[in-house]
Amino acid sequence: MAQSETARLIKGATGDWEVIVGLEVHAQVTSRSKLFSGASTEFGGAPNSHVSLVDAAMPGMLPVINAECIAQAVRTGLGLKAKINHRSTFDRKNYFYPDLPQGYQISQYKSPIVGEGEILVDLSHDRSIKVGIERLHLEQDAGKSLHDQSPNMSFVDLNRSGVALMEIVSKPDMRSADEAKAYVTKLRAILRYIGSCDGDMEKGNLRADVNVSVRKPGARLGTRCEIKNVNSIRFIGQAIETEARRQIAIIEDGGSIEQETRLFDPSRGETRSLRSKEEAHDYRYFPDPDLLPLEFDEAFVASLAAHLPELPDAKKARFMADYGLSSYDAGVLVAERETADYFEAAAAYGGVKRDAKAVANWIMGDLAAFANSQSFSVAETHVKPAQIADLVDLIEAKVISGKIAKDVLAIVIAEEKDAMPSAIVEKRSLKQVTDTGAIEAAVDAIIAANPDKVAQAKAKPTMLGWFVGQVMKSTGGKANPQAVNDMLKRKLDV
């Protein structure tokens, strides 16, 4: 086994264990109205205000499919490099629950709209894996029951009932919590790029059912348990780790795993069984007789493909090729489409080709730090690509040093939000001193004032740093640090 693979194994009492993870992700389709009704999909809303008679399952109501939801599913399938099925059917999944007004969910069981595909997942150690997609299908979301409003009653709100979901089923190709987290992160990015789902896990627009099993390497697949409705990437990781350990402990104790559905409890950091005392659900799937088979032609698919935006993998490859960025840097920038667009706007601002790596560093460093502190994305801050471009140009032209540039950005962020860095530099006389004569004068002054340190420097070359600091201080930070460094080296003979 490769070294990276053994690193994923979990150590148990009886040896190493392999974790097998598969994910079923439920992504709420971005659309104005619901899958089979014209009610709004908007988040929030007064209880039962986004509910049509169809959603409320009144007698005689019938489903009519939303064309945009179909398009979104196909677009997503294309983004997953998957097989698009020109003919698919809808099935009823029958069970009773108060937030399921019809007593069945309209889903796609036998013939989903999208078939097999794959996602390239970048892992943190500059390694990537391919995770297979089994299928993608469209289905209705259920409403919500509030259980905490009263001691004896549950309150049912059908606003979400009937909202379109894409269920994206992965193959069980993941082998660790990190791989699973990276998979969801990448899938989410693809969905956001395409615009078929906003990936907002806090709002519940993206959630995952996590399937976990364990086995000794090379052994047959173990029995899996499903952890339902995990709604954050962090929790997905925690759920996998705790569940894997739970299963390992049971097996090593001589027991066996029962296939069951579980819930992850974040407060206790463990999973608990959801299995009811009665037998498992029998969903009695059958084709929905109120809906005909869904059919479209290759021209329809082609027209959607033609209008797809550049997807993360392609954009990353282009950033590496055209801008000379490293795989890591390109990967960070393309994680969010808006950040990638921001980077390109800054890199090419004014029609000038500037140091893309420098632009990337500013965005991923100081700007990102500011954005995170505000819980924004880079593109959502008030700092414009033009301002970053200007900053990079000033450094490139040696008008200011990198250190001063940091200060200038801080001024843009906190005080002069709309000002261009060059204007700030001008106004506040922050131009760095490059005049050799002036620098020499400052250097000479410091050397003359500190003869004992000069002698020490000969023995301990790291004292150079102190001298540089002193010269910078005496010039109000404006001297070009590189020039100061070079000159001191020469004069101190170190």
């Binding site: 009144m58 007698p59 019938l62 489903p63 009773f96």
Partner: protein, 506 residues
């Protein structure tokens, strides 16, 4: 002046249009008849105020020379059609007090065309039944007197439990009884396995189930989605044609509704059938068949021949599998369609200690025995391990049944002539109490048509030796209801207009 209720719908239409009769007079006459005929139990809700308001509005329009194809004509509506603000329960206890805030497309079109609503008509609960005996509101009496019964005996039975009086058929029993008893000019009905055609045959009226998808199912309480169709019950073929034209049409709210124009069906009534081809399927000749029905069928063939049609013997080999396959497919779809009746959002709610208890008690209290049976059969045939053996197999047989018809139509047959029912109407309480299947056999000639999605019309063709009405059925090509009206008119002209009973129940 004849009682306006004696007019056919076409005659009333013409009279009202010519201002010889007002809609108000016509409506009042029907309201009076309804009051007198209340004992038949055909109506479960009467809407006299609404009717009078609508009639007045129609008269105003007619006075201006305006008006739609059904302007001012009083109609009864089967209880499974959603009528805004009016009792809509599919005659089930589980929809107790339900008044929809919406209108079905079919009835909306009737009101659009000027019709007047008299009330909601009795039916078998959730359209499951062939005699109207499963209704929560009790059985409906046919206006036909049982053979050898005196009027006194009949009146007494009407006032007590109605046992022995004739069933009007089902599930559109109220519609058929009301039309035959002249308590409305025509009625809306629905047909899943024969629920328009069988009651038509039992009551000497005309009923047509159009091609699946011809009428919208929006706002109709669903029984079996792939089989249900709306259709009219009326006293003549022409009347049925007039009604169907208003009822049919595209509807974007129903994904299974055909998006195509509606022909002028009335224009097809009386069209020559010379040279057209009638198929007579040998598989409809059952072992031990009622000889009267066989004789009537043969007579029907002769009428066709006399009218210039060519007769061919045909074979529909999978005919005998239709009824059992229907009793898998229909209950399966029903078990899912009726899951929404759970006491949560409307209708009956029985108290329960938790949600499962609430569901179980509500549905046990709310569903009658026949509905419970079918929901359970449906649940069983869809359940894990049985789905392929039952449901999938039945759907495959459905394909075979449809293919039988397609082959025959491709060979040049224009319509198929068959009996409508295996017998004349039987007595209330006479069938089904022991073996549920006994009642199902009533539909043996009609279910094939629903399984294949084809149009079928039942027309009165004669009387049995005991004086009870017998009907014949014609099955047509998809969306070729016009041919059925043309051939139906041949039967009506040849047999002579059925003389419906005079009101003995007064």
């Amino acid at each position: 002046m004849t009682n306006p209720t004696e007019l056919t719908l076409a005659e009333a239409r013409d009279a009202v249009k010519a201002r010889k009769l007002s809609s108000l007079e016509l409506t009042k006459a029907h309201l009076a008849a309804i009051e007198q005929g209340r004992v038949l139990n055909a109506y479960v809700t009467e809407t006299p105020e609404k009717a009078l308001t609508m009639a007045s509005a129609s008269d105003a329009r007619l006075a201006k020379g305006e008006g739609g194809p059904l302007e001012g004509l009083p109609i009864g509506v089967k209880d499974l059609y959603a009528t805004e603000g009016v009792h809509t329960q599919a005659c089930s206890h589980i929809l107790d007090k339900f008044k929809p805030a919406y209108e079905s497309t079919v009835t909306a079109q009737l009101w659009r065309d000027g019709a007047v609503m008299l009330g909601k008509l009795n039916m078998d609960e959730f359209a499951m039944g062939s005699s109207n005996e499963t209704s929560y509101y009790g059985p409906v009496a046919s206006p036909w007197l049982p053979p050898n019964w005196s009027v006194e005996k009949a009146r007494a039975a009407l006032k007590s439990d109605k046992r022995g009086l004739l069933v009007p058929g089902g599930s559109s029993g109220g519609s058929a009884s009301a039309v035959a008893a002249r308590l409305c000019l025509a009625a809306t009905a629905s047909d899943t396995g024969g629920s328009i055609r069988q009651p038509a045959a039992f009551t000497g009226t005309v009923g047509i189930k159009p091609t699946y998808g011809r009428c919208s199912r929006y706002g109709m309480v669903a029984f079996a989605s792939s089989l249900d169709q709306a259709g009219p019950l009326a006293r003549t073929v022409r009347d049925a044609a007039i009604m169907l034209r208003s009822m049919a049409g595209p509807d974007p709210k129903d994904s299974t509704c055909f998006d195509g124009p509606v022909p002028d069906y009335e224009a097809a009534v009386g069209r020559s059938v010379k040279g057209r081809v009638i198929g007579v399927p040998k598989e409809y000749r059952l072992d031990g068949m009622n000889p009267e029905i066989e004789k009537l069928w043969a007579e029907g063939v002769e009428w066709m021949r006399a009218a210039g049609a060519r007769i061919v013997d045909i074979s529909l080999p999978n005919t005998r599998h239709a009824l059992p396959a229907y009793y898998i497919v229909a209950p399966a779809e029903a078990s899912s369609n009726l899951a929404r009746y759970d006491g949560v959002r409307y209708g009956l709610r029985e108290p329960g200690k938790d949600i499962i208890d609430l569901y179980e008690k509500t549905r046990a209290a709310g569903f009658g025995a026949e509905v419970r049976r079918r929901v359970m059969i449906g649940t069983y045939v869809l359940s894990a391990g049985y789905y392929d053996a039952y449901y999938v197999r039945a759907q495959k047989i459905r394909t075979l049944i449809k293919r039988d018809f397609e082959r025959v139509f491709a060979d040049g047959v224009d319509a198929i002539l068959t009996p409508a029912t295996p017998s004349a109407a039987f007595g209330i309480g006479e069938k089904g109490s022991g073996d549920p299947v006994e009642m199902y056999l009533n539909d043996v000639f009609t279910v094939t048509v629903n399984m294949a999605g084809l149009p079928g019309i039942a027309t009165p063709a004669g009387l049995s030796a005991e004086g009870l009405p017998l009907g014949l059925q014609l099955i047509g090509r998809p969306f070729d209801e016009e041919t059925l009206f043309a051939f139906g008119e041949v039967i009506e002209q040849s047999a002579g207009r059925m003389t419906l009973p005079q009101p003995w129940w007064l």
